[in-house]
Amino acid sequence: MLAVEHLFKRFGGFTAVSDVSFHVEQGEILGLIGPNGSGKSTIFNMLAGAFAPTAGSIRFEGRELAGLMPHRIVHMGIGRTFQIPRPFRRLSILENAALAGYYGQEHVTRTEAWEAAEEALEMVGLPTDPRAETSSLGAAGLKKLELAKALATKPRLLLADESLGGLDDSEMDQAADMLGKIRAEKGITVIWVEHIMGVLMRVVDRVMVLDHGEKISEGSPSEVANDPRVIEVYLGTDTIDTGAAADA
């Protein structure tokens, strides 16, 4: 479904993403992990068209994405969330999602957009009451709204940047369940970004690990959790989760 080859991103002299290649199969959940500043969000920004790659190719369902405008990529079927939620504060919760439903799909009526919005909000567990304002949402609620906005565009591939602290364990579990549910019920392929392996290992099919902009490991959760290079990167941190290792 998605084939990324030799992707580079340089900011001035600094290389944020260096020669990263990977692919995503239809229907899978790929976890993308790595410490702070390892280039995860930068890869997302290139996939979503917010940044132009310095070099490399991104092919989605056979079509080249590099150089396309973000809204074109949304129309092609890729939805993204932002790591730090970016809701439209002047719009209600429902209007936020409906806007994405209306502009994120091509050739839809207002009715269809509103239906897509309600469906997306129900999916993530937010109120569909037209009067509900974004100011009523906390950190977890805003993350859900990010997801709902992306889902309302009816994507086939969802780029979920969840790597934000501020969620407690049960909220993280909920988020993991949600992504599992999105794949199971909607058949949406997911790339899920996290700092930490934690709950992610429970849900993903494969994991890719980045460090300093380079891909250092890729494989099943248990393979990756036992990879010496990954252990080295995460050494001294307690973020490597035992859940996946225990599964293995």
Partner: protein, 333 residues
């Protein structure tokens, strides 16, 4: 308050008043107010989304001069000249807007670009004085008593006719405002004005949406300019173009209220009465004084009354109504 019925009712009231008879001077003042109100409404369509143009004098000047020049030099009826002028205004809006939006020139920088634009138009008029009359102004050739009918020349001797035209134009402006207010475009542009990246991630073509509203606003403003020159049968760079007029437009809309349907109309009443009072009581010494007052008042409004006079009154009324609804709900319970 922002509906169809209220503007239509107002328009009907004005028409009835005109039929019953309004003396010439107040009629003149009202015509001018209505034409300006239309222009201001055009500006507010952009302004409400944070697209603050300090250059709408450019579009107004283009609308006025193109129409009048085509009439004088090509003998072209305004029925053709005005559409051409509007097309030119749309083109100018694209030429200036597209690079700004593509390269994300927003906020103050956008305002500065548009400010330069309006001076470019004013200076162009002055530089081509052989054809435009320069800063002395330009007079469309009166239609004379030959075979050109009034309707072809779009020149009318009686103020009543102009008044009816002005009411119709103004009403159309309010209805356009309402159509935008009710459309998805409004949500899209609200989103864009808050966060362009997030809007793009929702599938909005940011450049295109901004360009569309800019072109609409520019075309309306140019039409206001064309109406102005047809009515006044005189135009000068300083009365339709340049920084002074551009600032007056911003002041009027900000003072009246940028987020309400009648805000720009209210702004037109304020600015026109202010200009007339200055003219009557201080006389010609005061030329330019109104612009100084606009500048100062603009700052005061932005700081103290950002929703404008009408917008603030509407807010106050709404809060009062809310309170009444709530208290009657609690007393009913």
């Amino acid at each position: 308050m922002n509906s169809v019925t209220l503007p239509v009712a107002f328009a009907a009231l004005l028409v009835v008043a005109a039929i019953v008879g309004i003396p010439s001077y107040p009629l003149h003042i009202m015509i001018v107010i209505l034409i300006w109100a239309f222009t201001y409404t055009g500006w507010s369509l952009m302004g409400r989304f944070g697209l603050v143009s300090l250059g709408h004098g450019a579009f107004m000047g283009l609308g006025a001069y193109a129409t009048a020049l085509l009439w004088n030099y090509a003998g072209m009826t305004p029925w053709l000249g005005i559409p051409i002028a509007l097309a030119l205004a749309a083109l100018l809006a694209v030429i200036v807007g597209y690079p700004c939006f593509k390269f994300r020139i927003t906020g103050h920088y956008f305002a500065l670009v548009t400010l330069a634009l309006t001076e470019v138009v004013r200076q162009t008029v002055i530089a081509t004085r052989d054809h435009t009359g320069g800063s002395l102004g330009f007079t469309p050739t009166p239609r004379g008593n030959d075979d050109t009918p009034s309707i072809v020349a779009l020149q009318f001797q009686d103020k009543e006719t102009w008044f009816l035209i002005a009411v119709a134009v103004w009403l159309v402006g309010l209805l356009i405002w309402r159509a935008v207010d009710r459309s998805m475009v409004r949500h899209a542009l609200d989103a864009v004005s808050e966060d362009e990246d997030s809007a793009a991630a929702a599938g909005i073509n940011v450049t295109w949406e901004k360009l569309k509203i800019t072109v609409l606003s520019a075309v309306m403003t140019a039409f206001g300019g064309a109406m102005y020159v047809q009515y006044q049968l005189f135009v000068a760079p300083d009365t339709v173009s340049g920084i002074g007029i551009s600032l007056q437009i911003v002041f009027a809309v900000v003072a009246g209220g940028v987020f309400t349907q009648f805000g720009p109309t209210f702004g037109a009443i304020i600015t026109l009465l202010l200009a007339e009072l200055l003219r009557i009581y201080i006389g010609t010494d005061a030329v330019g004084l109104d612009n100084a007052i606009y500048g100062v008042a603009l700052v005061l409004f932005i700081v103290f009354l950002p929703k404008g006079i009408l917008g603030s009154i509407e807010d106050a009324v709404r809060r009062r109504l809310d309170r009444q609804v709530r208290s009657s709900a609690t007393s009913g319970a």
